[in-house]
Symmetry: C2
Subunit: 420 residues, 2 copies
């Protein structure tokens, strides 16, 4: 019988370093050709397994695979598709097994957030029940930084760096203009449920007066009067006010701020995000000229300004996933473990998938200042190491050159999958 | 009598390289201490001259001045303040002369766009009439790239690089997600009157299928049906559609697209920009899931991804401005002159301020493809060299370290200025 093959899939919202994990997986598997046969990547994530769309990564040159380390987004395609529970859709699990069996896949590495770790865990259990045991290893990834046990999630450090750099730069812009023009700048960042990303922007505040002056967290119910007073006091003190607002910023009743803006003439919920909503509130109440930005995908795909620490860690968890699999470990996820010393250090540890699945790590209240508008020194200690170092991609003609893969599919052996 | 002093001011919307011009001015003046006394910088631009708020740049260390080369935005403050015509407000010109006389300022270097060149020209003429001749040199700066005669404007190349890099990265993100989630991404860029910035984003399209797939220019009246057909055909062909829209995109009647969105429940004109407007139109008509981004100030302050060519040119025009002044030239602006050879080359030339003032250089129609949705090879030939090269700032703790100036003001000699 031929050597066991490995199946790797990317899941959920992508990051600027998820391909660095893919690179770690594939390069490490190639270093173990005696034990691992082919590395298949799911075309568009787990859906690729169901559809038997298996990218044969062996067809990619080592140069192309190495380039994944500096390529943002999901090179094999990701998906927003969560396997239902066994009870709800057993057929999906059976199909996975069928595909894995047909292609002699004995390793399943799933690169994603909490849902993906849950899926990997379920597949592991199911494969045992089916008598075709699959070694399932989760590979952590999420800009949201909300996975438990691991000190931080690969993907987060780079978006953290992006938002800190961006608000520093835009803050200087507003500082230049504030005497006669724009006095308020609002930058909206991701983080629907937790303020990790918004909080990281606070790293740009190195000295008194540095942007951002105000951060609006999902964790702190929005207090309109208090907020407006704070904006005014910043403008009076510094001449301007630079604000970072999480897309998840909420009213006291738990509704999103972004939803407070009413509807437009066509009855649509207001099109703009929370940034224009907040900016307009300030204009209405305080009369300041404003600008606002919504970084959206730019922040999570900004490989050009990725954190070297993040890239290294993303690669390391991919590498460790293969190594753990080869050691016979199962149903675990490599984690980042922070060293105890004053100087930042990290190593790769491991967590049981069962303990990772469906647990959301929230930002501690102690990371937010008492007034609710900024981060504490404790938070800075946590965040700062994660954005350390630059890891620039190669440029040609002024533009970063990212991996272009062939994505040749393995020949199909099964009937077409018809989801119910 | 002491040596003549020089007054330098930043004007209008700032860029990520206007301080590189300041650096060129100050360093070159320092190399000519035998001829130039102090270099004063206007605190918040020309307003600093009227208020006699003169930053004594001699108090800044050479290290701080050197750091200006890698610092975005206006380190001395800029302003949106245009001197009126002589007939309308002669007092302003007289005040300028009074301040210049009191501080023995014989050189006036004005770093800005078309309005600033106009002002510099007027001051030059007026100073002659007043018998206190000031050497006035304009220093070109604008992200809008709309100054005539010069091949391009310092400030533009870096925003061009930012938008090209950003849409490449975000495009890869959408490509990853499109199978089961986001199919359309819309990025709004600056350029109220001309499509230079939007056009430059087209550089990211190196191969068939590369983002951006569609660019909406101010120059091409928006055709809703044609646009929606194009979006649909991109999604069918590539699986997704990445769109760059200029904030100046217009309807056939000349109104801005961004103004078409109606009003919200409070009667406000819709808060969002043109990106959410376009994204929502696509959702309504074609049903695709979308994301959108508005880069706003992030694009023009993004020194971390500045074009080396742009930085070099920004420095060079600052340097040349001082050299021209010392050669006794007057009422001119250094320009960028493109070499004729196939390989890109440039040198600094000069233009009369009278020929620069109040002339807006539009993007040629030949830069836009026949269907109006992309740029031509001719445009790429023009744009490509301007984004060449990277020129990274220094980082500390993961964040770029930008110049922090003392900005000590010269002692005032005059009564307080009371604008009429």
């Amino acid at each position: 019988m031929s050597k066991a093959n490995l199946f790797y899939a990317q899941s959920g919202g992508v990051t600027s370093v998820i391909n660095a994990s893919a690179c770690g997986v594939i390069e490490t598997a190639r270093q173990n050709r005696d034990k691992i046969g082919k590395v298949y990547a799911g075309l568009n994530g787990i859906v690729g397994a169901l559809n038997e769309d298996l990218v044969d990564t062996n067809k990619e040159s080592s140069k192309a695979i190495a380039a994944l380390r500096t390529t943002p987004a999901g090179a094999f395609g990701s998906c927003r598709y969560k396997l239902k529970s066994l009870a709800e859709n057993r057929l999906e699990y059976e199909r996975l097994m069928e595909v894995f069996r047909a292609h002699n896949i004995r390793y399943f590495l799933y690169n994603g957030g909490g849902d993906s770790q849950d899926t990997a865990n379920k597949v592991s259990q199911f494969s045992l029940d089916m008598g075709f045991p699959i070694t399932c290893i989760g590979v952590p990834k999420t800009v949201d930084n909300d996975l438990p046990i691991t000190d931080n999630c690969p993907g987060f450090g780079s978006v953290a760096k992006y938002v800190a750099v961006s608000i520093r730069e835009a803050g200087l812009d507003v500082a230049s203009m504030c005497e006669s023009s724009t006095k308020v700048f609002v930058m909206e960042v991701m983080g629907r449920h937790a303020g990790w990303i918004a909080g990281a922007a606070g790293l740009a505040s190195e000295q008194d007066g540095d942007a951002p002056h105000i951060i609006l967290f999902p964790e702190i119910p929005f207090d309109r009067e208090k907020f407006l007073r704070k904006v005014k006091s910043c403008v009076n003190k510094y001449g301007y006010c630079a604000i970072v607002v999480s897309e998840g910023a909420q009213n006291k009743d738990g509704s999103f701020l972004a939803e407070s803006g009413g509807k437009d003439a066509f009855g649509h919920v207001q099109l703009g995000g929370v940034a224009p909503f907040v900016a307009n509130m300030i204009k209405d109440e305080l009369g300041y000229k404003y600008h606002w930005a919504v970084a959206d995908y730019l922040q999570r795909s900004a490989r050009h300004i990725a954190s070297k620490t993040d890239v290294d860690q993303a690669y390391a968890v991919g590498k460790a996933a293969v190594e753990y699999a080869l050691k016979g470990k199962n149903a675990i996820m490599p984690t980042i473990v922070r060293g105890k010393g004053k100087k930042y250090s990290w190593r790769v540890g491991e967590a049981k998938l069962a303990n990772v699945a469906n647990v959301e790590k929230m930002m501690p209240r102690s990371y937010i200042t008492r007034d609710g508008f900024h981060i504490t020194d404790k938070a800075k200690e946590y965040f700062a190491p994660l954005i350390q170092g630059e890891d620039y991609p190669n440029y040609k003609n002024g533009i970063p050159q990212y991996a272009r893969l062939k994505k040749e599919l393995e020949k199909k052996k099964l009937k077409k999958w018809k989801p119910k």
